[in-house]
């Protein structure tokens, strides 16, 4: 009798934990599994090189997680990373900022004005279809190897996702809602502020996410192929000296930057979409 009671309680508990948002395990399972698989990978990476005998020459090309962690720590502790990181980060931030400041209003304008759209569309299409890398030699010639060149290459990379997504979102604006605010005497500026931009927000945020990726790529490309300083320059120089651990450290810092920015966009997104119905299945 008691056994059956206990069994029933067990079953009830099991059913409970299956319900979304109830048990800790249900919520944490993906995070735990994800962390575990990364941990396994790191351990394998650390252990395997010790088990396999490699010639000294081959060893030059490899490193281990502990070595990378040590190098990263050293780079930050001694402060040697701050200057290149600062240069890369300002190139990234200024270029991305500029692309938002230009891309957003421009996207709204060409989305709302048939004339502007017709005038600018050929340029945008052509520019967007051209791989941005081909501009690099020209930009180096015009802007040199310093911060300006980096800003420009980041800018032209990040501009189009923002511009084009904003445009798409603006085109998608609900005609009835525009009529509603017009009927209350709204000016074209009010229409943009009250209907068009809020309506385009999901598109704009998606564009921003793309733009961040492009901006990081812009920084990396500029620094790999012609810059005086920056994280990428540090990586290229370290690779030349077979300092694989330093190269990996740079890579990790870049990855961390991108992840941090993406997380910021996610926070922004959830702030901005409070008014939306919760997506089914989402938490």
């Amino acid at each position: 009798m008691t056994d059956i009671r206990a069994l029933e309680a067990d079953i009830a508990q099991a059913a409970d934990s299956g319900a979304p948002g109830r048990s800790a395990w249900y919520r944490l399972e993906p995070a735990i599994l994800g962390t575990a698989s990364i941990a396994v990978l790191l351990v394998l990476w650390e252990v395997l090189p010790r088990l396999i005998t490699m010639s000294a020459g081959t060893k030059l090309f490899f490193t281990t997680p502990t070595q990378i962690a040590g190098t990263l720590w050293r780079l930050f502790a001694t402060g040697t990373i701050w200057t290149p990181l600062g240069v890369s980060a300002s190139g990234f931030a200024l270029g991305l900022g500029l692309s938002i400041v230009v891309g957003l209003p421009l996207g709204v304008l060409i989305g709302r004005s048939r004339t502007l759209n017709a005038m600018l569309d050929p340029f945008i299409t052509a520019f967007n279809a051209t791989p941005r890398l081909v501009f690099l030699p020209l930009l180096m010639l015009w802007f040199g190897l310093g911060l300006e060149m980096k800003i420009v290459i980041v800018f032209i990379g990040a501009l189009f996702p923002i511009l084009i997504n904003t445009y798409e979102g603006v085109r998608n604006a609900d005609k009835t809602l525009i009529n509603v605010v017009r009927s209350f005497g709204a000016s074209e500026w009010d229409v943009a502020r009250l209907v068009v931009v809020p309506n385009a927000m999901p598109y704009i945020v998606a564009g921003l996410r793309l733009a961040i990726g492009r901006a990081v790529l812009g920084v990396v490309v500029a620094e790999f192929f012609g810059s005086e300083s920056g994280l990428g320059v540090m990586m290229v120089q370290a690779a030349g000296r077979y300092q694989v651990d330093v190269v990996f450290s740079g890579l990790i810092v870049f990855a961390a930057l991108s992840l941090a920015m993406t997380a910021m966009v996610q926070v922004l997104e959830s702030r901005l979409s409070r008014w939306r119905p919760q997506r089914a299945g989402g938490e």
Partner: protein, 256 residues
Amino acid sequence: MQAYISGRNVNLTFRPPNRGPVRALQNFDIDIGEGEFLSIVGPSGCGKSTFLNVLLGLIKPDSGDIRMDGKPLAGPGTDRAMVFQEFGLLPWRTVQANVELGLELKGMSSDTRREVSQPLIEMIGLSGFEGHFPHELSGGMKQRVGLARALATDPNVLLMDEPFAALDAQTRDLMQVELLRIWQTAKKTVLFVTHQIEEAIYLSDRVMVMTKRPGRAKKIFKIDLPRPRDYEMRVTPEFNELKLQIWNELKDEITV
């Protein structure tokens, strides 16, 4: 009654890109007296919403003369407000911010706006829902927010496009009474579009029947029932007689 709003020979054809033209209004004539309650009934797609949009100043007709208070109509103005057929609530605004939309565009401070919106929200029975977003409301609740928003700017002319269609029968009855009270105390001119003949008779001074598309005024019925009207009036022989006459006029226009 002298015409406050008049439309003469109004013609309007939609020309959607990549599709054939749609004639929505043809030689449409209308006269609305100041402070009058006029309802329009007509088959679906006959141009009722189109005409309301013309009066609102959102669509320009191809030809015809439309005047309000003797002056030709020029664009939207705060003397008119519409209760939209599909509610037209801004989904990213709360109930309160939606009700205050017109006031905000008038440049009113948030305190003053609140003084206006609060009693209206109470009137439509949505107290406690001020901070809710439209997707959290039922269809009937959304419709009432649309009504409050139109009333907030205190327009002379209320254009109402099937404003009670999404309401349950009981709420509908209550809102009809409330509308008549507002209309009588605030002396507004109301143009009311509905598919319910009974509703049209109960509320109106006159009921216009429109033809099928392209819409024209087919016949106008004067509703001589005494006011204030009450619920029992709907079962009187006069009421039923009017209902039958209007239905007879309307049914020839409806093709299924």
